[in-house]
């Protein structure tokens, strides 16, 4: 168990370093940060001085080492655009993104899994066909298009829900929540649907196909031949076996939600990290972009760790006798 966790954590660190390298080294060469942050009246001499002060004239290796060191200490640098610590900006934006992502994930999982189970168990029922059609549309419509449609329909045409922003928020320490005000909750609905729809579709399809696959297995047939009740077979045996892949992929989808939020947040002007990221791409705000990448990577790594541990808990083959099942492919 300990070895397993240690191995996973080591892998996570390697992944994080790789991502940090990518985040840093690639963005280091995009655009000219100096020109993005000086005003109209800054002379070329002042620009050169600033360049030096920011360490942009140091060797790239030194810059990267400094970058990793700073990140490890929680210092994500100073935003070129806003001239304040990136970590502060992240703390402001994080609640918006997490609340949106969380609700989207709840929607995606809460609706996607039951839909998937249902259409797996009743693969030819009319409701399953409806689900299938919905999911086809769900994976075929780009999220930004869904967002625009929803805005037009609910914000402008019907006029019941806000088209942008987070509404009123309440401050709980450094965490600002929109969940305690009516306008905050209303503002959350459309973005959450937009963000959750695609993931919901994926999860539904995953559960359905896993369910179908498991239902075809011999042990399910054998369980029925043993005379077990349908409920026991479907939910005790079949569902539990679909759980492993479902948890893994659902975990990854939750991770994707945070990253996919870039698009949704842009469409809805949602003041979260994704929106900040896109803004920073447009203004070549390197510290923010780099920090965002690192953040997303860290998020994924943590989710992966959790998923691996869950998998470990659920699947006895992994837990008890790794040698029989661990010819690791990847």
């Amino acid at each position: 168990m300990a070895a397993y966790i240690v191995r996973r954590i080591l892998q996570a660190i390697v992944v994080m370093l790789t991502v940090a390298l990518i985040a840093f080294s690639l963005f280091r060469f995009v655009g000219d940060p100096i020109l993005a942050l000086v005003g109209q009246d800054t002379t070329l001499e002042e620009q050169a001085e600033l360049r030096k002060e920011l360490g942009l004239t140091d060797p790239v290796v030194v810059q990267f080492a400094r970058f990793v060191g700073n990140v490890a200490r929680g210092e994500l640098g100073i935003s070129y655009g806003q001239r304040r610590p990136v970590i502060d900006m992240f703390k402001e934006r994080l609640p918006a993104t997490l609340e949106l992502s969380l609700l989207s994930a709840v929607l995606a999982i809460g609706i996607g899994i039951p839909m998937g189970i249902y259409s797996g168990l009743h693969r030819d029922g009319w409701l399953s066909r409806v689900f299938q059609t919905v999911s086809l549309v769900g994976i075929s419509l780009p999220p930004f298009l869904v967002g625009i449609l929803l805005i037009y329909l609910f914000a402008v045409f019907i006029g019941v829900l806000p088209s942008q922003g987070r509404g009123d928020t309440v401050q709980l320490g450094w965490w600002s929540t929109g969940l305690l005000t009516w306008s905050g909750i209303k503002s959350l609905i459309l973005p959450a649907i937009t963000l959750g729809l695609f993931q919901m579709t994926l999860i539904m399809r995953l559960v359905r196909s896993e369910m179908l696959e498991v239902l075809r297995t011999d042990y399910i047939k054998f369980a029925r031949a043993r005379g077990l009740k349908n409920r026991v077979v479907n939910f005790g045996h079949a569902l539990k076996n679909t759980l492993v892949p479902v948890i893994t992929v659902t975990g990854l989808q939750v991770g994707s939600i945070v990253a996919f939020a870039v698009i949704t947040e842009t469409v809805f002007q949602w003041p979260g990290l994704g929106f900040l990221f896109l803004q920073s791409v447009q203004t070549v705000d390197i510290p923010v972009m780099a920090a965002y990448l690192v953040f997303v990577a860290a998020f994924f790594v943590i989710i992966n760790l959790i998923v691996d541990l869950l998998y470990y808990v659920i699947d006895p083959r992994l837990r008890l006798d790794r040698t029989t099942s661990s010819d690791h492919g990847g």
């Binding site: 502060d88 006029g159 203004t283």
Partner: protein
């Protein structure tokens, strides 16, 4: 401050609920909250961080200068009660008494001196406002002498955006310098403000929202009736319109030209329109011997005035006005708008739209089949900037000049053209002084690097002259205009330099763009031609 520390201090379920209830209950009938949106966010609350209309305009609700502008843009006393010129280069300002900053400290002469010094500190982007100041002498707490570099008729128009900060407050909060962009702690004034103005900064979430409340102790009589103002930056024009249509906003600007009719036709909404003092124009690379990004090698066609004129006459500004701007633009022949000091109506006639003449000119210049060129264009700065560039490229294509449009976000666009990495670019300019000098000084005067030997540059001259237009006579006239006191003589010089520039087609002026503000009909507010929005003129009915 650590995350943990902050969190524990205010956490607790009771507080959560209380806060929630407070939010739910806090909407008394007489509260007049005013919500508005702009396409960008003020860069900082520090009045010296950036010289940008939006930022300075917003900060103007919180901070004040010695002098402010009236609705008609004429100047009137603000923190200075009155002033006179003791000598041509010495201005005596009598400061207003009993003015207090928002934190309660009184406003005195030392704050002006402090502000001047701070404006010159590292990181300041508004040095231009005080570039005319040689020295400030304190006579007493409420009297100062400002010594300018020579007679400077435009001085009073240079300082309305130069806001006065409190020395005590800045020192207490370690905001004495605007600040270097290093990993040091952020400049306190960046997200906090302490002015003397009609509104107090209540909270600031950069890029999300900024909240102000009225200053009950303001020295002037408040003409507004709002109890709270909330600014939300909304970049996407469609989203801004949607938010207004769905009633989330009381006012937003700029309203996309295409949506003006819809807004006008929507019950309860109204438009405020007018010409902005900003002129949009095209600039050329007039310096390189071989054009960048072109199929013409070894030559720069743009150096030939016939080519420039051909391009000028290929542009149908009326079509752009009708279709791109939906009637909301004022085709221009000069780099300055009619509101700007120095404007000459007689000169403001465009060379006629005439594609045939264009073709002839191109043929005469040796380019019967035209040439290729890249037009650098912002896509989020001016009204329909990208669409204008695209329309222009289609029009130029008809006379044989194949224009590729490189449209990008303003930060990238400005960076590119400022390092002279351009052959053809679109830019817009409003002189913050409302005087023609500012436009020519920045956009037409030769950049220092290109001056003949022995000519001493003035600081920052030609900073936006990205294509290096250079005419010694015009340069000279620009310098003379800065210091000429006699209005008639001065206008003569101005007309002369504008005529030279116009006939040389130094730039192609396109139009003045509209001010396009959309609001709820129940809101009264004043639209200033400099496109700054001032809360002190807002009334919520």
């Amino acid at each position: 401050m650590s995350i943990k520390g902050r969190f524990t201090r205010t956490s607790g379920l009771g507080l959560v609920l209380a806060a929630g209830l407070a939010m739910a209950a806090a909407s008394p009938a007489e509260a007049k909250t005013f919500k508005w949106a702009f396409q960008g966010d003020p860069v900082s609350m520090d009045p010296y961080t950036i010289n940008e209309t939006l930022t300075l305009g917003f900060i103007g609700n919180i901070y004040e200068s010695l002098i402010r502008r009236r609705k008609d843009l004429s100047i009137e006393p603000a923190l200075a009660e009155s002033w006179e010129t003791v000598k041509p280069d010495v201005w005596r300002f009598h400061l207003r008494k009993n003015v207090k900053f928002h934190d309660g400290t009184p406003f005195t002469a030392k704050d002006v001196v402090f502000s001047w010094k701070r404006t010159l500190s590292q990181g300041s982007d508004v040095k231009t406002f005080v570039s005319g100041i040689k020295d400030i002498k304190v006579l007493d707490d409420h009297t100062i002498d400002i010594v300018t570099a020579g007679p400077r008729p435009i001085f009073t128009s240079e300082i309305p955006f130069w806001y006065i900060m409190s020395e005590d407050w800045a020192k207490k909060n370690k905001a004495v310098e605007v600040g270097k962009l290093t990993t040091e702690a952020e400049n306190y004034a960046n997200r906090h403000a302490n002015g003397t103005g009609p509104f107090i900064l209540k909270s600031r979430e950069p890029g999300v929202k900024t909240v102000v409340v009225p200053n009950p102790n303001w020295w002037d009589k408040a003409t507004h009736n709002i109890t709270e103002g909330i600014l939300t930056p909304i970049k996407s024009p469609a989203t801004r319109v949607a938010a207004l249509l769905s009633g989330e906003l009381d006012m937003m600007y700029p309203a996309p030209t295409q949506d003006v009719n819809r807004i006008k036709g929507t019950k309860g909404l109204a438009m405020l329109e007018g010409p902005e003092a900003r002129t949009i124009f095209l600039g050329f690379d007039l310096q390189r011997d071989e054009l960048l990004y072109s199929n013409i090698k070894g030559k720069n066609p743009l150096k030939d005035v016939r080519v420039r004129k051909a391009m000028y006459q290929a542009l149908d500004m009326n079509a752009i006005k009708k279709k791109v701007m939906r009637g909301n633009s004022w085709p221009a022949a000069l780099l300055i708008a009619p509101q700007i000091n120095g404007f000459k109506k007689e000169l403001n006639t465009r060379f006629a739209y005439d594609p045939k003449a264009s073709k002839k000119l191109l043929a005469a210049a040796g380019y019967p089949n035209g040439f290729e060129i890249v037009l650098d264009c912002p896509n989020d700065r001016y009204v329909n900037d990208e669409a204008i560039c695209l329309a222009a490229s289609a029009m130029l294509a008809k006379v044989g000049v194949k224009v590729k449009v490189n449209a990008q976000t303003k930060a990238k666009h400005f960076g590119k053209i400022k390092r002279e990495d351009t052959s053809f670019y679109l830019l817009g300019w409003t002189p913050s002084t409302f005087d023609v000098h500012n436009v020519f000084y920045n956009n037409v005067k030769t950049r220092p690097a290109y001056l003949p030997k022995g000519v001493e540059p003035q600081p920052g001259q030609g900073q936006w002259n990205c294509g290096i237009y250079s005419n010694t006579e015009v340069d000279k006239l620009i310098e003379l205009v800065a210091n000429e006191i006699d209005p008639a003589k001065r206008q003569g010089m101005i007309s002369k330099m504008m005529t030279i520039h116009k006939n040389e087609i130094g730039h192609i002026p396109l139009h003045q763009q509209p001010l396009s503000w959309a609001k709820k009909a129940s809101i009264d507010l004043f639209q200033s031609p400099d496109n700054t929005f001032q809360l002190r003129w807002v009334t919520v009915k």
